[in-house]
Homo-oligomer: 328 residues x 4
Amino acid sequence: MPKTIKKVGVLTSGGDSPGMNAAIRSVVRTCAYHNIECIGIYRGYQGMIEGDFKEMGPRSVNNIVNKGGTILKSARSVDFRTPEGRKKAHENLVKSGVDALVVIGGDGSFTGALLFNTEFGFPVMGIPGTIDNDIFGTSFTLGYDTALNTVVDCIDKIRDTASSHNRLFFVEVMGRDAGHIALNAGIGAGAEEILIPEEDLGLERLLDSLQKSKASGKSSSIVVIAEGDKIGKNVFELKDYVEANLPEYDVRVSVLGHMQRGGSPSCFDRVLASRLGVKAVESLIEGKSNYMVGLQHDKVTLTPLEQAIKGKSEIDRELLRVSDIMST
Amino acid sequence: MPKTIKKVGVLTSGGDSPGMNAAIRSVVRTCAYHNIECIGIYRGYQGMIEGDFKEMGPRSVNNIVNKGGTILKSARSVDFRTPEGRKKAHENLVKSGVDALVVIGGDGSFTGALLFNTEFGFPVMGIPGTIDNDIFGTSFTLGYDTALNTVVDCIDKIRDTASSHNRLFFVEVMGRDAGHIALNAGIGAGAEEILIPEEDLGLERLLDSLQKSKASGKSSSIVVIAEGDKIGKNVFELKDYVEANLPEYDVRVSVLGHMQRGGSPSCFDRVLASRLGVKAVESLIEGKSNYMVGLQHDKVTLTPLEQAIKGKSEIDRELLRVSDIMST
Amino acid sequence: MPKTIKKVGVLTSGGDSPGMNAAIRSVVRTCAYHNIECIGIYRGYQGMIEGDFKEMGPRSVNNIVNKGGTILKSARSVDFRTPEGRKKAHENLVKSGVDALVVIGGDGSFTGALLFNTEFGFPVMGIPGTIDNDIFGTSFTLGYDTALNTVVDCIDKIRDTASSHNRLFFVEVMGRDAGHIALNAGIGAGAEEILIPEEDLGLERLLDSLQKSKASGKSSSIVVIAEGDKIGKNVFELKDYVEANLPEYDVRVSVLGHMQRGGSPSCFDRVLASRLGVKAVESLIEGKSNYMVGLQHDKVTLTPLEQAIKGKSEIDRELLRVSDIMST
Amino acid sequence: MPKTIKKVGVLTSGGDSPGMNAAIRSVVRTCAYHNIECIGIYRGYQGMIEGDFKEMGPRSVNNIVNKGGTILKSARSVDFRTPEGRKKAHENLVKSGVDALVVIGGDGSFTGALLFNTEFGFPVMGIPGTIDNDIFGTSFTLGYDTALNTVVDCIDKIRDTASSHNRLFFVEVMGRDAGHIALNAGIGAGAEEILIPEEDLGLERLLDSLQKSKASGKSSSIVVIAEGDKIGKNVFELKDYVEANLPEYDVRVSVLGHMQRGGSPSCFDRVLASRLGVKAVESLIEGKSNYMVGLQHDKVTLTPLEQAIKGKSEIDRELLRVSDIMST
């Protein structure tokens, strides 16, 4: 029989993403609903080590469902990588009566959670929060849908002016290792070409594609480029390359940067956050540990943290074909 | 062996929804990609009867992926309900060399398409376009995700002022027969109570819930009400009822209306539209007919039109529980 | 020589509006800049009576410049209308060392401030915060510009669907006594007709205008109606009237309601709030009292509170003509 | 007595800006209102030379009031700088019966218009359309207000994530020669420091200011940098410089680029466009020429084109002080 959970700690860790606050709110209110106490841990694992805790009741999370960022703040913790750091963190939790932990973050955060469980047998559950959608075991990570909307909104504005002039626009989006954002936002925004880390398009094909695009009667083109694209040039080097090879083109660059991590979460991300938070807390109550909650086939599911960490969230290659067809 | 498709007609029918233009664009460009001709049929079935057609090439659909509404316009057609009307429509298609049809719309539009196929053996494919998400055979209809974002944006603004005063806000959203919008947008917006057609909450429980909400320390509350809620009172009658029974409350009403059907589609709706358009055209090319394309378990699928029409898209009852927990 | 100001109190009163938080932030930081203390008074005059005060330093107002609503909350106070209430309020201020007051609100709030000054010789400055733009002595009140954008965004969405069907849309906007919102948002959104409190268009002319609009080839029309329009019918009665007299029309209604008071302030409102806050505090420091700060001819100005209260902010009648021309 | 105007030509020229379509619509409908014909000239002066004209009636401009970009497209014309080019353009206008011209654009476009008038005595009026707000004779150019909102929306999103981490964000905005956007959007977004072309802050002061900001308890800072800032380093060089000198900082860069030129115009820009279009056409009807219409002191005014071109639109230096106070 599992030990009864009396107090849950919740933290956000790693790069923040829209929907993290909605997830915190869900964890806090699910605890209240089941008459369990809840404390917020500030600044991720670092705050756990420093004992930066705050009791949270249902009214502590009023009016945050729609806020970007994370009220618990996030930080990367060097100390938590040391046995001493984790020991201190554990002592703080025990001292505060916390007997289970919900970690909202990405791969790195889950690795920390799993290690913490291994060392201290402490119950942990993960909620996938990152805009990159690069986590195995869930079709959608918190913040991904919002980030897509942010990117297409920006490109829509660029398109207004693109269609007034004859120009080529390069838009760099986030995604060092995963092209989910570039691929989906590129299709959504009607980009003529999309460069992603998973696929080496090759510079030749890019030039080809741009020339074909012009030949087909398009007066201007938008290229979406993931930070981590395979071509191995940054967006400004790419601009120079294209202008050198296709002198008729005038290339303009936008680097969206961290705005993609912020903003009010979409309805999808808020509902997802609410559902995942409920499942995380109720799974802890049921005595489960070491899982990540996620959404698969429209259902909330549990994936062992170990698999979530090791597995890779592949892009849907059929979307590459859809993108090709769409830029006909 | 299926007859080779040479020219596809595409129309939008019934209430319009964001993403219809993205779907039209996808159909047109998929045709071009496969060297098939495409014509746009204006004003739905009525335009089919009147021969209101226009040849469409890939450049005809430039810069519409992000536009709300439908460039083909939509209309309800009384004439198409008569055998004479449908005969005339069929003659027009044959005369124009159209040999397959993509219908973007809801249940009613699909019923017309199926009848048309039965009578003339004409190949038809349906794409679910409606904000209500009330179609069997797809987890998401085109426009639904956008409508949810529209509703939560409006309620977020109301919440700003709600949290400044002590007030009760009633927000009426679309959904005559289906509570998908009310339920999901209600959770997303952090509504205290949600009234939907599928569930008779009862007036007593509403009063109870509002009083509990106040007792728990909430300074103001938002109630989301679907047009077709079971309580059988319109939103202004409900206001009078609550003010009569809970005189401490000052109720303010918003009726969102048709803004929910418009607006630039979300990235999700645009990608969905692109994928469904590709599948619809390629299924026709493969000789298939009488199916609706949809998204199920993150994959594009085919559902027989007959099932799509007869089946019912149920709300996820687990969300009612999530909503309850969230309003703790 | 004026008494040196050492501690300023700031409150928001009446209906809230976007930009109030930016104004609070400006007051607080201007105080800090000049080494003056500042306290926030919660819930307007009611909080003044109840001593609901909080010390505010520059970090107390981090990250609120972009938030709708008011962190100090607002309330209407019956007690402040009594001499006893005001006496209590004054005692609280004196006890806390507050020696000057900035009131962010509308006419009613300024009347209270002026009375308070008259009775106790207490220095007061007003900042015009209301979405209605109905205050004499400033071309723009805080929140008005934001509310206009909220309204046109909503009507843009309605227009998407309007242009797909043949329909008539009635949109009720705020403005019980002043047509500024209806008139400007109506022009901005391209409404075919605008009904405002200042002008009795007459029902006949409305019908005429709608028929002319149809005759000119418009497939659908949008009518913007201020709550307080002169015609003396509410928007649903108006719908019935028009449908009875022009049976070819199908009228759909949106009642925007309190969403117009919320939302993240526009850049214009934020800059305006910043400028007005600086001027309010620096005027108090210079020994001035009983003025409202405002923006006139692109400059920050002072208007005696008495004039601000008595004067009327007229609509620009030239805009009525512009509206007529635009709906050609 | 002025020659009666019978047909007005309208064009957009130079970099496009939100509100240009609303201005085109206003010109077209004001012509119709006064029973004057109107033609649209595509691609600015280049289209004038090539005779790329289209008759425009009131229905030609349906549903464009809210669209970014310009339906007439814009282009820079080398040919128009030659006497031959201008002669050809004039012949085309005469041949088409056009007897007056409305030019929507910036300084360069006005210079062309003035030259055209000088050479051929052709009546011309200018409407200031550029996001940079750098035109003498108007407090606001078309598109400026919208661009400010675009920039603050982006920075708000960055702020969400900024407040979660301890970071420094550099945001590059448009403004090669004018700091209006950087200064106003910087204040609106609550930037800690603003670098503009008009003011050489000096690198030392920037480092100082960032250190003070940290010392005052701010966990992260946002710096808004105009493209043409005086410091003479591009934003990436600036990042390297700051990171070298303040190693505790992790600098992240966003380059907003052309999204600032697009997007649906704000209500303010739409109303302004409507008013300016009416005034431009009615001034031509009254026999006036060689003026720019503008908004000064809340009124629509005329400024001789020559002055508009030669004069400089200064930034409001009081805003520099407001910015300083706000970053206390």
